[in-house]
């Protein structure tokens, strides 16, 4: 992404192993900005791209804990704000509030997870993608790499080695 003068090449493959090989060789050759398009999540490709843990987990945790705290705080505060004895129970009845706290844990946790996902994967994206092929949502795999002009030939050669169905070259534009 930082390669301002870089140029992008997009190769689409019919086979999973060709795709994985292409990614691994590009990365071995020192191309850092390699992207893959797949019709479904594939762990071989994630592995080839060297992904670790997704920070979505932090969003889930923080959201969930916020929900728990909100649930207990809100029920306690409203009970004290309007202290009415119901059913002979204490004004602040923690066991009853566990239910509210639990539901809010799930609610906040789930919503935070989705917001986290949107932020991290840059969704929704309204920009039309220059580099994309509708076949990627059907059955083809795509590998996109950005390279400086002097390394363009090398990138092209590595992608060609794995017998792509198609190779497209364009500007450095992708989401």
């Amino acid at each position: 992404m930082s390669v301002a003068a870089g140029q992008g090449i997009l190769a689409s493959y019919e086979y999973l192993d060709s795709t994985v090989d292409a990614i691994e060789r590009l990365r071995k050759a020192g191309f850092d900005d390699v992207r893959a398009y797949t019709p479904y999540p594939d762990h071989h490709i994630e592995h080839a791209l060297g992904y670790g843990q997704s920070p979505v987990r932090v969003w889930t945790l923080v959201g969930g804990l916020t929900g728990t705290a909100t649930g207990f705080a809100f029920t306690t505060w409203t009970s004290v704000d309007w202290p009415l004895v119901v059913g002979g129970k204490p004004i602040v009845s923690i066991p009853a509030y566990v239910v509210i706290a639990f539901e809010l844990t799930v609610l906040f946790g789930a919503l935070a997870t989705v917001i986290g996902l949107f932020v991290l994967s840059r969704l929704p994206s309204v920009k039309p993608a220059v580099i994309y092929d509708p076949e990627f949502s059907a059955g083809r795999y795509g590998v996109y790499v950005e390279a400086t002009p002097e390394r363009l030939d090398e990138a092209r050669r590595i992608l060609r080695e794995q017998e792509p169905v198609e190779i497209r070259e364009g500007g450095a534009a992708h989401a």
Binding site: S54, V56, S93, A110
Partner: protein, 461 residues
């Protein structure tokens, strides 16, 4: 050299070979609807009219047009509320719990089941609003700072219910929508004209990049992990609407697990009821095989046994407790005014599913369809028995009474099925009713190099 193994497939869809086939077979459903669809849609739309007409009449005339009165203040509306919430539960079970347990047979049915969840909660959520009578006061359920300085009573199970149901609706709608996003992108890539514009917007610009999949996969796991305890909590909270009170027949610690098992039982039956026609009409035989129905039937059988056990233990404990009122209450269930409802419940939920022990029945889709209808009916009557027979025959003989549902109540009940069907029919035409992307995950990936021969011992299930 990357070593890529693809043995994960094989067990589910023997007749589907290429990823492109999945897109072709599923996305063609989104084409122009046929006459049959329009006929059903017109029927459902009429029913929705009846539903809102009857509700409008009740709003205009007052709650007196229903059969609700002392001592039976909870009737068909609350029965139907519990019924529809229960229906919703197995959708989340299939989409979230079986996802966490990595049950591969869920892949082809989970989208339909999840849609069922969302629409069933949408239906269930209307019933408390219908039941309260004065709809214009419904916002009192929501805690908000007001000029009267009042807050809801958070010690009341009814307020817990408000939180449980709204959370459940929000989370299952989000979970459902998120799961469809990659498939909406697939629909976008094949659609033309106005539909393309629509899918472009609702697919949120999904491209299937590695980064998107990476975070999507993790987010999906966490949502499933949150939805799993949620689904168990929601029906527990619904059961506490009853169990926290002291009405004989309601005040039992068994209620939460009993309700959760019943919910999943009725929901699985509803999934079968919905998926059988879906498979037939849209030609999805290759994706929904008898193996899938066998798995659903087994789940139905297991939950039917739990439910039957709960019935029997309720009767046993009523007798064993030696408590006069509890004993009378359960005797009254079996042989009192509403004996027929109890026996419908026992026969439909306890006896009919015994047939599922037989492999031949589990492998016969027409038989499963018929059994599922019986279970749907039985589970509605289960809630009717719990709600009505307990209330009509409480402690004091002078306060006993009879409840008869009015025409308005029955119209709203029947209309609620149309309201549900209305959304489900729209769903089958606008969203891919089978999860394209997840099916590909259980199919063998295309390889250029021949995969090594699978070791027969390793491949054995």
């Amino acid at each position: 050299m990357a070593t890529v193994s693809t043995e994960r497939g094989a067990l589910t869809h023997p007749d589907v070979h290429r990823f492109e086939d999945v897109n072709r077979d599923v996305l063609k459903i989104l084409g122009a609807p046929g006459k049959g669809w329009w006929a059903l849609f017109a029927l459902a739309a009429t029913g929705v009219g009846v539903f809102f007409g009857a509700w409008g009449w009740q709003l205009y005339r007052g709650i007196g047009v229903s059969g609700l009165n002392q001592p039976v203040g909870w009737g068909v509306y609350i029965t139907s509320f519990v019924f529809w919430v229960g229906i919703a539960h197995s959708g989340t079970l299939i989409s979230a719990i079986l996802f966490l347990f990595r049950a591969p047979w869920r892949q082809s049915i989970y989208r339909a089941a999840e849609a069922m969840t969302v629409f069933a909660v949408m239906t269930a959520g209307l019933f408390p609003l219908i039941h309260i009578g004065r709809l214009w006061h419904a916002y009192w359920l929501v805690p908000y700072p007001n000029s009267r300085f009042l807050w809801p009573n958070f010690k009341s199970p009814l307020v817990w219910d408000v939180f449980a149901i709204t959370t459940y609706f929000t989370v299952s709608a989000v979970f459902f929508f998120l799961g469809t996003v990659p498939d909406l992108a697939a629909a976008r890539d094949r659609a033309t004209g106005l539909r393309k514009k629509l899918y472009q917007v609702i697919s949120l610009g999904w491209r299937g990049t590695d980064r998107q999949w990476h975070h999507f996969g993790k987010a999906y796991i966490f949502l499933a992990a949150l939805a799993t305890p949620l689904v168990l909590s929601v029906h527990s909270v619904v059961s506490w609407d009853f169990a926290v009170s002291i009405v004989p027949g309601w005040h039992a610690t068994i209620f939460a697990p009993y309700f959760v098992a019943g919910a999943i039982y009725s929901g699985i039956a509803m999934v079968i009821t919905l998926v059988v026609p879906l498979r037939k009409v849209f030609g999805l035989e290759a994706y929904l095989t008898v193996k899938h129905f066998d798995a659903m039937a087994k789940l139905c059988l297991v939950t039917s046994l739990i439910v039957l056990y709960a019935y029997l233990s309720e009767f046993f404990l009523a007798w064993y407790s030696g408590e006069e009122i509890e004993r009378t209450s359960f005797w009254n269930r079996l042989f009192g005014t509403y004996w027929w409802a109890t026996w419908i419940m026992l026969v439909c939920n306890g006896m009919v599913p015994v047939m599922l022990w037989f492999r031949r029945v589990r492998y016969s889709i027409p038989a499963l369809f018929v059994i599922s209808i019986f279970v749907n009916i039985g589970m509605w009557f289960e809630r009717y028995v719990i709600v009505v027979t307990s209330l009509h025959h409480e402690y004091e003989p002078f306060a006993w009474g009879i409840y008869r549902p009015s025409v308005i109540e029955m119209s709203i009940l029947l209309g609620s099925f149309c309201w549900f069907g209305f959304w489900f029919l729209l769903f089958t035409r606008l969203l891919p009713p089978v999860a394209i992307q997840e099916l590909k995950e259980v199919m063998p990936a295309p390889l250029r190099r021949q995969p090594r021969q699978p070791d027969p011992q390793e491949a054995a299930p």
